[in-house]
Symmetry: C2
Subunit: 297 residues, 2 copies
Amino acid sequence: MSDAPLIAGVELGGTKCVVILASGPDAIHERAELPTTHPAETLAAIEAVLDAWRGFAALGIASFGPISIDRHAGDYGYITSTPKPGWANSDIARRLAARYDVPTEFHTDVVGAALGEARWGAAAGLTDLAYVTVGTGIGVGLIAHDRPVDGLTHSEMGHIRPQRLGGDDWSGACPFHGACVEGLASGPAIAARTGVKGQDLSPDHEAWENVVHALGQLLHAITLTGVPRRIVMGGGVMVGNPFLFPRIRHALRQSLGGYIAIPEVADVDTYVVAPALGHNAGPLGAIVLGQQALLTT
Amino acid sequence: MSDAPLIAGVELGGTKCVVILASGPDAIHERAELPTTHPAETLAAIEAVLDAWRGFAALGIASFGPISIDRHAGDYGYITSTPKPGWANSDIARRLAARYDVPTEFHTDVVGAALGEARWGAAAGLTDLAYVTVGTGIGVGLIAHDRPVDGLTHSEMGHIRPQRLGGDDWSGACPFHGACVEGLASGPAIAARTGVKGQDLSPDHEAWENVVHALGQLLHAITLTGVPRRIVMGGGVMVGNPFLFPRIRHALRQSLGGYIAIPEVADVDTYVVAPALGHNAGPLGAIVLGQQALLTT
């Protein structure tokens, strides 16, 4: 691995950015963390870091979204319609690609995490997987044949509308959809329903039943895309509440009802797993994006 | 187009097979229809047709499913767990590929229809689309960057569980999931709920409201995969009831609630459309599969 090319990776998160110079998890040569403030300020700070690191062969950017990944679109490389103040319609990837003139790949943070886990983490060796983050929002990154599944745009499957648990008619917390999966099972949704943040809610609180049911429905839908051989679940709600894993696996198995009788899915304990890369998943995912940019140019 | 290589295409359907020798919709040199009976008999009949057509450069097979498309799996090329008598665990693609020794691609009938519509039909020129068939079952074919979206297996998104229409608690007709989309909106589901086949049910029957709602939810989920620039809807229930199109478009728009503010989706009249290839969509899709087999070998 020592002769793998050096890649610059940028994880652009809602509260902070991590910028690394690396060729893999055991070869992280430089690492910087920056607060995410206003685009002009944050991008200038990222550039100040990268300017000092010249010599990288490619650049990968894993960003919070929604973003435009359609290379035919006029707004390719932009963060598009985010409610985060100042960031809507912000050019990210075009600006950085032009400045450094190296092959550049731009995708969502959750696709980055999926690619990182597939290369070096909880799905190592698998070409087809999903990464689901359950935190402030619910994001889904789908990878098929080692590449992100996308087209017009990237996955937003966290906003599908699940079948409801019998007797539950809470209106949900999503401003667009009410009781979509994100509106039922994200951290803010849990807080809106219970008055208590997910990480502080007792494992025996009855609201978890609704959260687990909604997430089981999401995994059911992700499974039925036909893509994943494994689903990695991270994000603040999952990390703080490991008891959720067996409950979500059970909900998924119940929901599928024996459909998709393929061993990878049927063995639900190895099908739905926790991430392995910890706080470096995002920036390492950006390194994989940079490596993919090298391969396609 | 006259110098495009000749491809043999097989559409293997539940009641009949169509076998063609063609390079495109305006260059169909041979065409044969055969009843689908027992695998040994039907495959022998297909081979008798193809044997007389030697000279094709590749073979495409678009089959009813579920099928194994995982080239790493021991059962690659098989129809797997179908309830159709005699067809479970039947080798299709390995047998035909070995006999003709040409590049061979094998996928679902609905992926075939999607590829055909993308090349020559209602989504011509688009690299990313979905084809949804609403008939005896509900099938989804997803194409991204001109290739089928798959991984472990093929899409079975017709079996996702939708949010229910308020007040509707019918148990649904799917033997695996009850009230999944197929269990609520397929032809047999409509017949089970109303006692009347879909094609004979009056457009003002109240049961259509539930069918439209379920299909709107399916299109919502397909849209949120991020893949399609257009969704083509075919199958017996759609073909016989063109009034469904405006109602499904309306349901989709309502369900998305302004999410995915991209023109391709926002213009729902051109986003959700009828097929254009008619009864040749399946076999022409098989021709595209054969062309893709040529490209990858």
